[in-house]
Symmetry: C2
Subunit: 560 residues, 2 copies
Amino acid sequence: MPSTATAPRTSFQTHPSRYQHWRLACQGEVATLTMAVQAGAAERPGYELKLNSYDLAVDVELADAVQRLVFEHPEVRCVVVTGALERVFCAGANIGMLATSSHAFKVNFCKFTNETRLYLEDASAGGGKRFLAALNGTASGGGYELALACDRILLVDDRSSAVSFPELPLLGVLPGTGGLTRVSDKRKVRKDRADVFASVAEGIKGKRAVEWNLVDAIAPLSKWKEEVARHALELAAQSEKRAAGTSTGKGVELAPIVCERDDERWKYGHVEVAFEREARTARLTLRLPPSAGPKDAAAAHAAGGSWWLFQLFRELDDALLNLRFHEPEIGLVLVRVEGDPAVALAADAVLVAAQAKGSDAWFAREVARYVKRVLKRVENTAKSFYAVADAGTAFAGTFLELFLACDRTYVLKDDGAQVALGVSGVHAGLYPMANGLTRLGTRFLASPAAAQAVLARAGEILDAATADELGLATFAPDAIDWDDELRLAIEERASFSPDALTGMEQNVRPAGPETMETKIFGRLSAWQNWIFQRPNAVGEKGALKCYGTPLRPEFDYRRT
Amino acid sequence: MPSTATAPRTSFQTHPSRYQHWRLACQGEVATLTMAVQAGAAERPGYELKLNSYDLAVDVELADAVQRLVFEHPEVRCVVVTGALERVFCAGANIGMLATSSHAFKVNFCKFTNETRLYLEDASAGGGKRFLAALNGTASGGGYELALACDRILLVDDRSSAVSFPELPLLGVLPGTGGLTRVSDKRKVRKDRADVFASVAEGIKGKRAVEWNLVDAIAPLSKWKEEVARHALELAAQSEKRAAGTSTGKGVELAPIVCERDDERWKYGHVEVAFEREARTARLTLRLPPSAGPKDAAAAHAAGGSWWLFQLFRELDDALLNLRFHEPEIGLVLVRVEGDPAVALAADAVLVAAQAKGSDAWFAREVARYVKRVLKRVENTAKSFYAVADAGTAFAGTFLELFLACDRTYVLKDDGAQVALGVSGVHAGLYPMANGLTRLGTRFLASPAAAQAVLARAGEILDAATADELGLATFAPDAIDWDDELRLAIEERASFSPDALTGMEQNVRPAGPETMETKIFGRLSAWQNWIFQRPNAVGEKGALKCYGTPLRPEFDYRRT
């Protein structure tokens, strides 16, 4: 990847051949993902990754491994997540790293690690891979939170290994990588037990860990290997793909994402980000290819990583992560999709056909799941998004979903301008939001009929006036007002308090029901972010700052 | 009320005859609650309550008015909430007050005002009173949030009056008194419109306010009185009580709550709070009367405000509010209930019988709704609660619910000790938690059979061993271990970061589904609390600090 002086510090692209902290081994239906963090290979100076503790780079490798398992190893039915150290599976996020990170970095770090764990659960829920946490030693904090994201947790019974949340007693913060939420809502641990568990730094082990449902089973060291293998095969046998008896076909290799970056512009193959730094704005342009490409799932599978739709969303995902971590001052992203809307609708037809019961089009299905995840990444990014549908744009199908994911939509309503929107079958449920509803269902929470009216246009290209009538435009100015209205909206957004915008968006975007996923980002993360601002955690005498030093934390004991 | 040098600054007790900021007038089925805030009567020096802006004392009067309407005016079917000023209904929470308040006070202020608005909604949802917001002028921020808690919003159409959320553009904070949540989830405003609405300081008026569902109707000044009366009668006609055709009987006067306070102890009639300040702990003792009192709903109605159960919970509510606002250093509350469990079960029988369809026992039903609200106030208090069931205690029925509301329950399992718990019909659904589930249902989320096993004991007094077998005890030590175990648990709790405890409890207490209510406290409030810590809001150049001064806010524009 070309790199300049302004290239981001963290790259979100890696490859198993370059992993420093994980080992991925596939053997038939069972893969083993072994955490073996190199203590001396921290992402930046100032801390050591002892005891399989992790920093962002470690988690980037984990996210990459999950993605490779999904696309490159479709034959895998069970993934065993285990550790290479003795007595310790994983000590969680590195405290030295957290203590020396900015508030914004901590927040983004937690968001990314949360997304990775949800990705792992998604690969299980719909992707037919079961995850077994084979805890060969103590799993603390983020280490246990990773286990909680797995389908089954097996803990070694060696009289010392435990699962634990030491965050509250030792660090004055929360088990915020989904920990409290999954204990309460996924494993349904009684609230008084969850309270006790979160207070006991040394954790809970053995039979009590099973009784409290903190783990599913324990196994002695003497039978560890056999028990891990037995549970892995049991889980593999449960996978839906296996049950459906469909063949998987060969994996699809993920080629590196190429991007030319300079301070003004990031140029990917289909995606471009152009910065207007004075306006704290980025222009994100997605370009559809001139022709539709693969006509069915088999052709898409054959195209693999070079299928334009897949490549485009992989580029978009990389751009989003880079925007989050490396462009904090950019507060507003203007989204445009250029090209022929028919090209987008043709690709959607492949995705929708692949959903048919009994279809063995696993690759197209996984691409749809991937797109779903990137769309959620948009909605989970602490920046404002305006969709800009002006001349030459084509927010059609999957790209209409991106349009709906934006905070506002501006549609140029002018007879002379070529403004195309388009409806496909993907809106009916292919890309559920984190709240479990479709984007149309969420937008039209008050009037399901309005959502149905849009769905009824599936296959159609809509002009601006029709899109506006259907309720898809926030504003639809004509050519006379367009420039001024958009300019004012951009200037206004860039002038507001960035914190108030983040808070507002986090409350307005996920209307309707809550899920474990929205609770993690909306409730748990919000409280963690609050604590990450409090002197009791991050002040000079805060617990997070003092941990690992000779100093004892000093608290202001007033409850808030 | 006796008062000493340590008496709290804010009293949560008032009476219509002493209101400074509201006027309550009842005329048959329609009551009018008029906001007429005395600008010069702020709770403390440093700000003026101009334009019907409010501080805590104003909201204490509102909460009192809602409670008086419920108990003293059962005949009222519709409450018109309107303002006494011209052109302005209410400008929201007073900015000068917010800008000069501590973080902890802001958080507690918002929590109380949120609870008051939810109380108003509860009086509508189950209490048969409909609320009409008759916005005779602009409703800004908290003013519009109050309107959002009403069943119907009528806005004067005078070319200038609007509804607005100026918090984000002017103050750099959120419409945090349920505002964003109710716009999204109650009124189901499209998220892009909610985004626009929250960005436009001057608000939205007239037909667009109706079209966006921000208000239900508009009416010109010339027809204002008739339209308000027409809507009020329409709403009154919809009330369930009216539909059920049940008579209401006479209202029940609420006598003042009497409390003797000194620095070591608050003594109410049935409730006592004793402080162990070095341990940052309070001992909250509830005492059941020696005999059961009213045997049926009619007798309870005749006893009215002096029915012991009602009085006890009114005292408990007052104690909770005083603990929140005036005892910030108290982090842990040890809860004991003393007396004869049969007395509690007898009162529960009255409450349960009053739920029968067609029953006209409105008073007993309202008492149950009141108890429900106080129990939720416990769970919404930023302090830890341990239930202590030792010799002489009687956590039975309604008091078992309080036991279940606690974070942990300690039960002394010793043959010699008189430890009684008891089960009644109230657990089956009389006191739903904010998450919509029963406390047993929430506790046993993983095993509904365990909840059923407790319900099956309705009417029974349980000893400690049985309660423990049924899963009601977090810990059930014997007499030998009891003192040490409890002492260690208390010391440990008092040593933890108070912020981490608040965050942990906010995530563990409401397991399971989310509701609008839990979203307000768990999501909206958490983000607001985060923003209330951010320099962009509360720093020297933050928007909240600069508002109303000649200074312009200066933001750190990095998005987090």
